[in-house]
């Protein structure tokens, strides 16, 4: 932890949920992507006076670490997908059902981000997939350093698929590049058709929008074409897939889309 800026994310917890005797060797942190250096910010000592140019992007540190993650994932042919949405859109339900449909044809593992509890990780574990829970404490989003730590714990096999369920929040996660292959925004029909316009930042970074809970369309005042149009108003041409985790409608198209994903962002 750096004494100057207090960085070090002391209250973030990263935990691999135990799931088999064959992985009892304990985590080998050296196998993960480079993480945040614990100390050693370059402090300069020559006298500085007047105006000093800085010209640094504010997310430079995160973007740098995201670059490490991206390279680490690409070297191993691992596809990491970042799922973002407001709380309760159905991310964990979607993952549980997706894992059931994909296994055993493809190794899948999950990194769960929540402020507190292991509830979502336990739900994933019951599907049999390896899972790491990251609790961000006060943090409202995952960042690239947290993903690096999660990957070091998870140790996903080469060529596998890693789903990252971000903290349920339609604002903050949008700004933090994790080094993922693609960003998937999930929106459920019960949230209303104006969500993309109210939270444009999130939808503007989406590589794919999943519209979940279409089984509930008869009960809500939402026109699917309008919701799709709103997505494309802030992210022109974005791919949109309507689905229902409950009935399974649209799951096949989603699984087909997963097959087309490359480890490196297009």
């Amino acid at each position: 932890m750096c004494g100057t800026c207090g960085c070090g994310e002391a209250d973030v917890r990263v935990e691999l949920l135990a799931f088999g005797p064959d992985r009892s060797g304990g985590p080998d942190r050296s196998r993960g992507p480079d993480q945040e250096e614990p100390a050693g910010h370059g402090h300069r000592h020559e006298p500085l006076t007047g105006v000093v140019d800085i010209e640094t992007a504010l997310l430079a540190k995160n973007d740098h670490l995201a670059g490490h993650n991206r390279a680490w994932l690409a070297e191993r042919g691992i596809v990491a997908l970042n799922l973002m949405s407001s709380p309760g859109s159905g991310k964990t339900s979607l993952l549980a059902r997706t894992i059931a449909e994909l296994t055993p044809s493809r190794p899948v593992s999950v990194i769960e981000g929540d402020q507190e509890t292991r509830i979502d990780a336990e739900r994933i574990r019951s599907t049999g997939a390896p899972v790491v829970q990251i609790n961000t404490g006060a943090g409202c989003h995952l960042d690239a350093d947290m993903l690096a730590r999660g990957l070091a714990e998870l140790r996903p096999p080469d060529g596998s698929l890693v789903f990252v369920e971000n903290v349920g929040n339609l604002v903050c996660p949008a700004l933090f590049d994790l080094g993922e292959a693609a960003r998937i925004v999930v929106v459920s029909v019960t949230e209303g058709e104006d969500k993309p316009l109210k939270y444009p930042q999130m939808f503007s970074v989406a590589d794919l929008v999943l519209i979940n809970k279409v089984d509930l369309l008869p009960y809500v005042d939402v026109q699917l074409p309008r919701l799709v149009a709103h997505c494309r108003a802030v992210r022109p041409g974005v791919r949109v897939l309507p689905l229902s985790v409950t009935t399974g409608e649209g799951m096949a198209a989603w699984c087909d889309w997963l097959l087309t994903c490359d480890p490196v962002r297009r």
Binding site: T4, C5, G6, C7, H41, G42, H43, R44, H45, P47, L48, T49, G50, V51, V52, D53, I54, E55, T56, A57, L58, L59, A60, K61, N62, G139, C140, H141, D143, V171, C172, A174, L175, F176, L197, P200, Q201, S204, R232, A233, V234, R235, P236, G237
Partner: protein, 113 residues
Amino acid sequence: MHELAITQGVVDAVTERTGSAPVAVVRVRVGRLAGVVPDAMRFCFELVTAGTPLEGAELEIEQPEGRARCRSCGRNFALPDPVLLCRCGSADVEVLAGRELGVASVVMAEPAG
């Protein structure tokens, strides 16, 4: 409150360059389309600078307006919100400005005595 993490980034970016020398003014650029709320940033700034060389520094936030260029008709226009649509009906629009998010410069504090 991602503004907390963002504002922490301000302190990191500055101290990386200026070390432990006290800073009087911090000038940041937060575009209108950057997804960061300046007031929230001001609030966080006091919190995260406490006990750092930036403590008590003034935070100046420049907010560049959004601007875009239409790739279909070539029109250059103001973009008040992130809805990417040109008057000609095209959504093939390139954002030229408004997404800035960075530290521009600082003014060092006068050495005491």
